[in-house]
């Protein structure tokens, strides 16, 4: 019985693993930390899985557990401060129409997002994932109005970082 549950869970996580990878890429800055966080999120997902009744989509449920782990439960190692090498590798755009100014702009944006606090990062992440304010508010535990207010503040913060 337990084997069956394990199999079902791992298959679903395997199919949706991108969500976890994306959270990891925002909250960590090197591959080792990325794998660490991925591991921790996987454990937390597995621990919470028996309570997952399917009232929401598996992916929606994953967003919440993954973000909660990154914001609340994960203990950052000091190593994750060294960021440069990994950034430039993973965030190089591989498109046919190579645009130098656009790439530079994007790199600055990613750098700015990395400087944000844990909560602000979560907001930006959910925004990038095209989540609506009701889902953002539910995930973080604030009202929709407040999620909007907070998002505007984050945009302002990003603006200040980009144009000091």
């Amino acid at each position: 019985m337990n084997k069956e549950l394990e199999h079902k869970f791992v298959t679903e996580l395997e199919n949706n693993q991108n969500i976890v990878h994306k959270v990891c890429s925002l909250y960590t800055t090197n591959r080792e930390a990325h794998n660490d966080l991925f591991q921790e999120i996987t454990i937390q997902l597995w621990k919470a899985y028996p309570k997952f009744r399917g009232d929401s989509k598996f992916s929606t449920w994953m967003y919440r557990v993954a973000l909660n782990t990154a914001i609340t439960l994960y203990r950052k190692s000091k190593k994750s401060i060294k960021t440069q090498d990994f950034d430039s590798v993973i965030y190089r755009i591989k498109t046919d129409e190579y645009d130098a100014t656009e790439e530079k702009q994007l790199q600055l944006m990613y750098k700015a997002v990395r400087q944000l606090g844990d909560i602000d990062k979560a907001l930006v992440f959910l925004y990038l994932e095209d989540k609506d304010y009701s889902e953002i508010s539910e995930t973080l535990g604030i009202s929709e109005v407040n999620a909007r207010v907070k998002m505007n503040r984050v945009k302002n913060k990003l603006r200040t970082i980009l144009n000091p």
């Binding site: 394990e6 869970f9 791992v10 298959t11 996580l13 395997e14 693993q17 991108n18 990878h21 994306k22 890429s25 991925f38 591991q39 921790e40 996987t42 454990i43 937390q44 997902l45 621990k47 919470a48 309570k51 997952f52 449920w61 919440r64 557990v65 909660n68 782990t69 914001i71 609340t72 439960l73 994960y74 203990r75 755009i93 591989k94 498109t95 702009q105 994007l106 944006m109 990613y110 997002v113 606090g117 844990d118 909560i119 979560a122 925004y127 990038l128 095209d130 539910e138 995930t139 973080l140 535990g141 604030i142 009202s143 407040n146 207010v149 907070k150 945009k155 990003l158 603006r159 980009l162």
Partner: protein
Amino acid sequence: MMDELELLKKDWQKKEAQHPKLSFDEIYGMIKKKSSSTVKWIFYISIIEFVFWAVLNLFSYTKESLELEKTWHIYEITTTLTIINYIVLIYFIYKFYSNYKLISTTESSKKLMKNILNVKRTVSQYVWFNIGIFVAYLMVNLYGNLNYGENSKKIAEAASQAGNETLFWIIFTVMFLLFITIILLLIWFFYKLLYGILLNRLRKNYSELKKLEV
């Protein structure tokens, strides 16, 4: 700014395919590993603290100390204190457990943080209660020792020989209070260090979310 964020969003979604792909077996291996989350550490530390104070209580109480309590005429008071101590202890064991059970990753971030900070508050109440009981024991013992103990005569003699008896007792009391204060400060500092490191980021995040509600 909006354009830049839209650009970022487009790029972010384009990068979907670039993330690593873990196999079934790799993920399967992960669910067999142990968590190293903050909650777990807080829970471990609280259990260690619990055991520490319980052991301290147990080992500091011997047959000799029972006899001593009788000769010092403080047996009734210390027994009452011990009974109170154990009743409160049982209450805390229950609290620790129910708090820990409440922590759920599927809850909203704010609620989760609040629950974790509640665990910390319980631990802190527990520590303060123990310090209080410890000081109470100390006071009762000092009272017994001064009035009925072997050294009581010597101290009383020293007091009368000192010339100014009032001054002697003032200095004696101040020294005693100083001693207790130093012990309390040490415990407090150790405690701050322990949980401060673990919970600093969490507290900051929580207050950031809470600020919004006002």
